[in-house]
């Protein structure tokens, strides 16, 4: 009998503890100091992957033409509704200029035609959304490293920030950033074509970043301006990207 009671109380105790734990974890999720502790894992993820992944390689897996998805899934914004973007689109992006500025010796500006005339790289890669889905597509564009070398990095340059045209609400324009290891990686391209066709508006026309060893939210669409910087702390929410400012990890290799 004593055993029966102890068994029952153990069960009740277990269920009660579970309930407490649940509400406790919800409380903890709100706590800034808990967030700081948990975020040490993001730093470890970044450091560990940087030991494995440099600007030289390895490459993200590339796929065969037969693997290309029949339709590429749209993620994030499908259309930046701003007046500036509408004007660009109406002119078929003939007035588009990609600006490279910040900690560079020679600030540069490229038209879409300029970019198309530069040596290109075509890659069939898997796009992995942070939500969990994946989609394979073929991207063609110019290597980011090529533009950065042309501009010449000034001392202190550590990150490339991508300023985009899509308004995420309240005038917050999308932005993203990568470190130099990813910026100079051979598969990191500013793409102007998807599956052999000019990049559609829904996929980021005229220019979309592809940084293939990271998740979908790093693949900034509607890229207007590259800003080379020593720190992104003073840009927007200070976390290095639109989704990073909403709580997602800056390093998205995992």
């Amino acid at each position: 009998m004593a055993d029966l009671i102890s068994r029952r109380s153990a069960l009740i105790g277990g269920v009660g503890a579970g309930g407490l734990l649940l509400s406790g974890c919800d409380q903890l999720s709100h706590s800034p100091s808990v967030k700081r502790v948990l975020d040490t894992a993001a730093v470890v993820n970044y450091r560990a992957q940087r030991l494995l992944l440099t600007d030289k390689g390895p490459l993200a897996p590339e796929f065969k033409p037969a693997d290309i998805a029949p339709t590429f899934r749209v993620n994030g914004s499908a259309y930046p509704g701003t007046d500036d973007y509408k004007r660009l689109m109406d002119a078929n992006f003939s007035t588009y200029r990609l600006v490279v500025e910040g900690l560079v010796h020679h600030p540069l500006s490229f038209s879409l035609d300029d970019l198309r005339k530069l040596p290109s790289r075509t890659q069939i890669t898997r796009h992995d959304c942070v939500e969990g889905w994946s989609c394979i597509g073929q991207w063609t564009g110019v290597q980011l490293g090529l533009l950065l070398k042309a501009a010449g990095l000034a001392p202190g340059a550590a990150y490339v920030v991508f300023r985009c045209a899509d308004d995420m609400g309240g005038g917050n324009l999308y932005y993203e950033s990568v470190d130099l290891a990813d910026a100079f990686h051979p598969q990191t391209i500013l793409s102007y074509a998807l599956n052999g066709q000019p990049l559609p508006v829904a996929h980021g026309a005229p220019i979309r970043l592809r940084v293939e060893r990271q998740l979908g939210y790093k693949q900034a669409k509607y890229v207007m301006r590259l800003q080379v910087t020593d720190s992104f702390a003073r840009i927007a929410g200070g976390k290095g990207g639109y989704w990073e400012d909403q709580g997602y990890a800056w390093y998205a290799g995992i």
Binding site: S6, R7, A10, S29, A41, P58, G132, G253, I254
Partner: protein, 295 residues
């Protein structure tokens, strides 16, 4: 049930007493086993709950390299609207439809029915928040891996693995009997209760050296960075989406192990078992046949 009822209340070990036979207390679980056990339990709980939070961000499973809305689906959990305008939770498994309103696909969150794969009471955090779910998941994933590696190495060098976990030849020969004992809920007593039985050994070995490493490897395969570093992972698991599906299924097997584990603890005497995993001390269930020739 006779096996349970015959257990006397826990008593401290003392000199043998012929009138009321005292129970022998042994030191069963060493400190590192106990620490690793509870750390592992904590990690697995947080990983499960935050993992279901992450699953809810895209509550579908696929096979192969890629998978999104138009791909063939192995599992989906969604809310659907009927012709009459009612919302229902719908789960499909290999195309078979099951209405799961209230649990999967459509469930309550703070007094409202919401469209989500797993219900709020089992996800971390309870509300839909992928970024926070990932934060918990990765921190506890590192803790889990470090704890697992530490335990694995300790088991090897302390000979916990070879002495306590790997079944002996006699164990394997007696596996049929052990299966029958388990089905009849007959728990070992006396000398036999001082060591892990063969099914216990096999269950622990499979969980610790097959299922848990599979979780780590399939988790790694979902990382685009690690896929670049170790493309062999994609070959082993047949692509990122297959790895995600395997990760989900193996998590289910670990939950199944947990349920059986808890049932066995309850059947074997929960306080004695729990105490042995906290203090290390375990009261050996007396073997009446050995104590009393007339029994």
């Amino acid at each position: 049930m006779a096996a349970i009822d015959s257990q006397p209340a826990i008593t401290p070990s003392g000199p043998p007493n012929s009138a009321t036979p005292r129970r022998e207390v042994i030191y069963r679980h060493r400190l590192w086993v106990r620490i690793a056990h509870w750390l592992n339990a904590l990690c697995l709980l947080v990983l499960l709950m935050s993992g279901l939070q992450i699953f809810n961000a895209h509550s579908e499973l696929y096979w192969g390299a890629q998978g999104f809305e138009i791909s063939p689906k192995l599992l989906t959990m969604h809310a659907v609207r009927t012709a009459s305008g009612h919302m229902l939770g719908l789960t499909t498994v290999f195309g078979h439809r099951v209405f799961t309103t209230g649990v999967f696909g459509l469930s309550m969150l703070r007094g409202h029915l919401v469209n989500r794969g797993f219900p709020a009471w089992i996800t971390l955090p309870s509300w839909q928040d992928l970024a926070t779910g990932r934060r918990w998941h990765f921190f506890f994933a590192w803790l889990f891996v470090l704890n697992g590696l530490g335990y694995g190495l300790w088991s090897l060098f302390s000979r916990h693995l070879s002495r306590d976990l790997i079944p002996t030849v006699a164990d394997i020969r007696g596996i049929g009997r052990s299966i029958i004992d388990h089905i009849l809920l007959r728990h070992p007593k006396g000398e036999a209760a001082k060591r892990y039985n063969v099914l216990q050994r096999l269950a622990y070995l499979i969980v610790m050296f097959v299922l848990l490493p599979l979780m780590v490897l399939t988790g790694m395969t979902m990382s685009p960075g690690l896929d670049a570093a170790f493309p062999q992972l994609l070959w082993v698991f047949d692509g990122r989406q297959s790895a995600r599906t395997i990760h989900f299924c193996v998590a289910g097997l670990i939950v199944l192990f947990f349920v059986v584990h808890i049932v066995e603890v309850i059947l074997a005497g929960p306080l004695n078992e729990l105490r042995s995993m906290i203090t290390g001390r375990y009261a050996v269930p007396p073997d009446h046949k050995a104590d009393d020739p007339h029994g």
